[in-house]
Symmetry: C2
Amino acid sequence: MTKEATEVKDPKIEQEVERQLSVIRMGTAEIVPEDELVKKLRRSIQTHKPLLVKLGVDPSGADLTLGHTVVLNKMWQFQNLGHRVQLLIGDFTGMIGDPTGKSETRKQLTREQVLENAKSYADQAFKVLDPEKTEIVYNSTWLAPLNFSDVIRLTSTMTVARMLEREDFQKRFAGNLPISLHEFLYPLMQGYDSVAMRADIELGGTDQKFNLLMGRMLQKEFGQEQQIAIMMPILEGLDGVQKMSKSLGNYIGINESPNDQYGKTMSIPDELMIKYYELVTDVSVEELEAIRAGLADGSLHPRDAKMRLAREIVTRYHGEEAAKAAEEHFKTVFQQGSIPDNIPEVRLDAGTYWIVKLLTDTNLCPSNGEARRMIQQGGVKINGEKVDSAETQIALEDGMILQVGKRKFAKILLEP
Amino acid sequence: MTKEATEVKDPKIEQEVERQLSVIRMGTAEIVPEDELVKKLRRSIQTHKPLLVKLGVDPSGADLTLGHTVVLNKMWQFQNLGHRVQLLIGDFTGMIGDPTGKSETRKQLTREQVLENAKSYADQAFKVLDPEKTEIVYNSTWLAPLNFSDVIRLTSTMTVARMLEREDFQKRFAGNLPISLHEFLYPLMQGYDSVAMRADIELGGTDQKFNLLMGRMLQKEFGQEQQIAIMMPILEGLDGVQKMSKSLGNYIGINESPNDQYGKTMSIPDELMIKYYELVTDVSVEELEAIRAGLADGSLHPRDAKMRLAREIVTRYHGEEAAKAAEEHFKTVFQQGSIPDNIPEVRLDAGTYWIVKLLTDTNLCPSNGEARRMIQQGGVKINGEKVDSAETQIALEDGMILQVGKRKFAKILLEP
């Protein structure tokens, strides 16, 4: 075959390459380099050999939030495209921890702790990933047997200056904060994991770029085809500004109750909706496009789009039934005349009041006549219960909620 | 015993400490720290337990010069003081070499090459050291079995900034020249050698300070008593300015002939004599003081001091007989009317000349009469041979040396 002949592209294969690419690109921050990814995909399709996708997992034993699922979701998409995915548990690194004891994030763990944490991680990850199609590997398998000569070979591939380009090292070095020499070994270990696994693709957040590229560099050094680094954006939390994190309290946990997940999702800013759809749901490329278009041309109300988002999220972690129930609950409490968070407070002396006088004293009604009319229409509630008669006597309680119509509220605070 | 009681010092022991110190201090550039050395010496004398003195040897297979023997000489002094000395062959480091292949000084060697070079080094070193009292150890014994976790522990003891303080690293970093990460491991290996050997003292040149202190740091890290770093000055070569080295050609090799060693020693500047005595001979502290005093008060002629120095050096490497013979040779050739290095050159056409005309044509004699007189007095030599008759005909040769009296010379250069 001549060179030209080999370059004739099979349209069916190219179509499949394009299809896979559109799924992979969805929500992705960066693909380094995309042309090599295209080649790998094409070969995979031609030879029916799936690509190996790596995701490194720190076995620190955390409860996952939606923020953690961004990469898991991309892994899940790769599973659906027919590729092999491997969760790499950093058990070797975990068991070493930080020998200086200075790093909170690198506590030294026992073998048992590492395995327990790995299991806990997998249990949570399997709410996104297909457990049947997920391989779990441990880096102690290949890192523990390395000897001093191997480590020297590994370290000889990097320069000090290049290592100091990593953002956190750069900042600490510039700020005269100590960097322990062994910290330079961790990125190399992560890179060597890719060599040992012969990874085609490594997933990570954009903050992992340096480490993902280390895998490429080391694979080249070891004479292997280089992996593609696919970086996912950092997911903002409920506040819409800061990275979703437990410590900031702006998170949705994957182990939280359906009602909490639903309600929290409804509280994210509208601008974040599409990003959430892209990064933490399993809607298809086409569905996402339809939602995006609907919001743009006004045919889809943002509230409805957000309710669907909330449903998608709860469905993933608790199933469809639970999602429906959570939506019902939300509608009842928050949409159909539920009590808003902030309502005017009125200070009154303890005692028993005539309902009509109470409604005028609290300014909920402008006059006795108006108060009577609202009661007769069934528009007056006390602590959520309808008041049937305009002659009712009310014994005040601290924190009692008065409601007139859908929008007017008052909370009674008794004078001490 | 009370604390005070333990501090009462035994005068005999203190005297011996002082005696040993004066030997150790002789020619030494720096002792870090000297007070700890005093404690170690005192304990050694009290308990009759010799100190362990370490000297690291790079098995690169070089012929030794007097420059290399400066530390060996100090080792030899420790042997004489009754301490244990260990030559540490860096066979592990040698077999790894520089994986990047960039370093000429760190060529990767086979096991056989390393052992051969080590033997060659020992053979040469035993011209200074007492072979019976010298232990040879190999760092592969303890470095080869280290695994990745051990290396991480080792590297965790150092910071990047501290490592960059080493002069050569600092210069390269500042000059944007690459420093391979594995280069940071070599000082740690050298330091760990001290841990594995439980060295009390490590010897090295002043250029080794960083690495010697690394041994102290790591011993502390591993809960050991810290070694003392004893640094020897760098020996200047024959030019009296630059470090003695093969590549500069300003060296005295320990395998060179007695005549070469003697002659080269006689060519060093007078100002360097004492330093050479201190660093590369086995004269005692007292003898050295006598020589120093003799030179100072003029009772010892510098030439005689230098001849003794040359004798001492040749004796060490070739024995007393050879030293005497070399001295005789030197006297004959260089002192009793030998030919100076730089003599006037005279260009003449090839041919046969009358000796008297030759002496006037070359301006060695002002007149024919003077030329005849000099010949008759036996003061004329051609190529070192006396000319007996004023009638002699000389067939000129290129490079022929004419000599009149003790001081007048000419070299014949034939016109092409």
